[in-house]
């Protein structure tokens, strides 16, 4: 029997490594060695725990104690106090914001209480670079079951019965996609994993690939068996170096054990996977554009039909599934389609991973059952709005989605309900905005993104969105007219109806939804030439409050123009003619003596 009595799990996701978790890891290993504990304690680098706000995170087994915001300097204490003396380190425990003291277990944290982790089941639990840990967590068990007990049709039936829908945004039933691809007659077929997570603000696919790459490889092999494909591609963004590294390691290990390659587990089934890298084009998340990119071409979409299920990569039948969708596959086979259906809503069974970000206290990845309300996600799990500001809106669906206001926070969310209120599920980005965010500015931001990312193939998207963007810029500058507002609406509807692919068809959504719910704010910009949130620079006037200014000259010194005058210890003044509204003085003033209107 091994002498290892303790496992120390250190988060090695992108969020935590960016806050020095690797340095922490070095310190831990060093300290453990120094104290002669190398035989007793095993340090494991895992994928993302999801609670990025409080990273780096360490979890200690067997106690199950969950430490947050751990710094490299804390390593020594963890070894001498916790490991040697068995005393928890109170200062590293999560403090309950509602005054219930320190919480020691992961499940006690409000952030985790309402979560059900299916796709993220192994993230933060196993070492993603060790296939044996994946096997211990039942990795490749579903593949074994499918290959030896089920026919391809039975595999597809199980997925159909589970009701699993595509988690990349569209929500198309996964089982049907497999069925259609199976029906197409061809010698060669392909299964593609879409890991081109382009929605800025969504990072669940990255976390799954970094934390549990084998779950995706296994599911691709199952899909390959079901549709009759021997080749798989994973199309991944070049911006995710860590995820790429973990995938390369995982594929090598799976090949070594013969879980990929020829004659898998002696069943005669062959399947192998190749990585293909993206190169910074958002439109490549669209499946037909992605197929072009895999072929080494410009990632422009093509018209459907023919659908990829009939003619995709190299004109062969192709099935494209998103990372999170695939991560749901093996639990469906291990626990059954009925189990999966019992979670979530009738039309949208299962869970969805959301990337909660923006002005919310607990930024991170959360996996919740479909049908949960936005209020629960933002206020219970997310811990409410930062700095006690007022909630204004939540944006779901990324550049294709829309903004949702306070009044809709209590509807149960699934693909249909989000669509009915002018937004969409999308890939699961959830950006929370408070009273300091200007909705015109946000809509302009998204539109700028889609204009930038439009591939230029079809006119409505290439030119229409550009025109909309120009109008938005004018409005933000205070040059907008009421005619502009109706033009925006009309243009938006036309672009939605006539664009070739999903990018163009959804690009106007952020503008249209903010115009619907924040009409007052648009009118303030257009008619009163005023930005109520104080964001749109050209509409602001910076003004020094005479009764608060102490004459410290800090503002005059940072002013780049310079337009601030005044003697030391006397009230300063801003020359409005010269002011370029950069906001430097406002940021610098320690006395709140500068007001923006």
């Amino acid at each position: 029997m091994s002498n290892v009595r303790m496992h120390l799990l250190v988060c090695g996701g992108t969020g935590c490594t960016s806050s020095d978790s690797l340095k922490l890891l070095d310190h831990l290993n060093e300290s453990i060695k120094q104290h002669g504990l190398s035989e007793e304690v095993e340090v494991v680098v895992t994928g993302c725990f999801g609670f990025c706000e409080k990273g780096p995170i360490i979890k200690v087994y067997p106690d199950g104690v969950f430490y947050v915001s751990v710094k490299p300097e804390d390593a020594e204490d963890i070894v001498t106090e916790h490991i040697i003396k068995g005393r928890q380190i109170d200062r590293l425990l999560f403090t309950d914001p509602h005054g219930k003291g320190k919480l020691e277990g992961q499940k006690d944290l409000p952030f985790y209480k309402k979560q059900i982790r299916i796709a993220l089941r192994n993230c933060g639990f196993i070492d993603p670079e060790n296939i044996h840990e994946s096997l211990a967590a039942d990795g490749y068990k579903a593949l074994g079951k499918c290959l030896t007990e089920l026919t391809p049709d039975e595999v597809i039936d199980t997925v159909v019965q589970s009701g699993l829908r595509g988690r990349g945004g569209g929500g198309f039933p996964t089982g049907l996609k497999w069925k259609y691809t199976r029906k197409s007659k061809s010698k060669e077929k392909y299964i593609i994993c879409n890991a081109d997570e382009g929605d800025p603000g969504a990072f669940m696919d990255r976390s799954i690939l970094e934390g549990d790459p084998h779950s995706v490889l296994e599911a691709m092999a199952i899909a390959g068996y079901a549709i009759g494909a021997e080749h798989g591609y994973i199309y991944i963004r070049a911006e995710y170096p860590l995820a790429i590294h973990r995938l390369v390691v995982a594929i090598d290990q799976a090949r070594e054990l013969g879980l990929l390659g020829e004659d898998i587990l002696g069943t005669g089934f062959n399947f192998d996977i190749e990585l293909r890298y993206g190169a910074g084009a958002f439109v490549c998340g669209e499946e037909t554009a992605l197929i072009h990119s895999i072929e080494g071409d410009r990632g422009e979409p093509f018209t459907k039909p023919p659908f990829p299920a009939e003619s995709g990569v190299w004109n062969q039948p192709t099935c494209v599934n998103n990372v999170e969708t695939l991560a749901n596959i093996s639990p469906i086979f291990l626990k059954g389609a009925d189990w999966f259906r019992s979670i979530g809503t009738e039309k949208s069974p299962g869970t969805k991973v959301f990337a909660l970000a923006g002005k919310v206290n607990n930024v991170g990845l959360v996996e919740v059952p479909m049908g949960i309300t936005l209020r629960e996600v933002i206020f219970n799990i997310g811990g409410g709005i930062k700095n006690n500001k007022k909630f204004k809106a939540v944006q779901t669906g990324g550049p294709s989605g829309g903004c949702i206001t306070e009044e809709y926070l209590d509807i149960p969310i699934d693909y249909e309900t989000l669509g009915s209120i002018g937004s969409m599920m999308g890939s699961g980005g959830m950006i929370v905005m408070d009273e300091d965010n200007c909705m015109v500015d946000i809509a302009k931001f998204y539109l700028e993104f889609t204009v930038d990312e439009s591939c230029g193939k079809c006119t409505p998207c290439r030119i229409g969105n550009k025109r909309m963007f120009e109008i938005m810029v004018n409005i933000a500058k205070g040059k907008g007219t009421e005619q502009d507002l109706s033009d925006l609406r009309e243009l938006g509807e036309i672009i939605k109806d006539t664009s070739l692919c999903g990018l163009g068809q959804t690009a106007p959504n952020p503008v249209l939804s903010t115009m619907k719910y924040f009409q007052d704010e648009y009118r303030a910009h257009v008619i009163e030439k005023r930005c109520p949130a104080g964001v749109c620079q050209d509409l602001l006037i910076y003004h020094i409050l005479p009764d608060k200014c102490v004459g410290c000259t800090a503002c005059a010194r940072v002013c780049p123009v310079p337009c601030i005058s005044g003697e030391v210890k006397k009230v300063h003044e801003i020359d409005q003619e010269l002011c370029i509204k950069c906001g430097a003085c406002f940021a610098k003033c320690k006395f709140n003596a500068i007001e923006k209107r």
Partner: protein, 130 residues
Amino acid sequence: MSRLKSLEELERIRQAAKDKLEIRTTAESEDRIMIRVGMATCGIASGARETMQAIIDELAKQNITNVSVTQTGCMGSCAREPIVEVISKEIPSVIYGHVDAKRGREIVTEHIKNGRLLQNAIISNSFDKL
């Protein structure tokens, strides 16, 4: 490691891998029981390390997989070391005193397996009352 040629081979290496991960899977299981052994200087001097090893050994022998064994600091009752605390969902926390290797094994058989407390060895049912 060579290529796996059958499902049986896969299951064999899976079982080996599972044993290694037990420390974690046990801690996450719903019916988890925790045994904490006082391992401060006084505890170790009175033989707490042997007690702990005996408990771990007995658990393995009886094939009990839902128990995490961990160590804790001084429990503040040095005269009655080695001290062992058992925490489970059904029965409130129980603290035993003078737990040598033999009594450690009894705790596993009686308390954990049969759900019967070792009445004569209980020194308290909560830390606070020590």
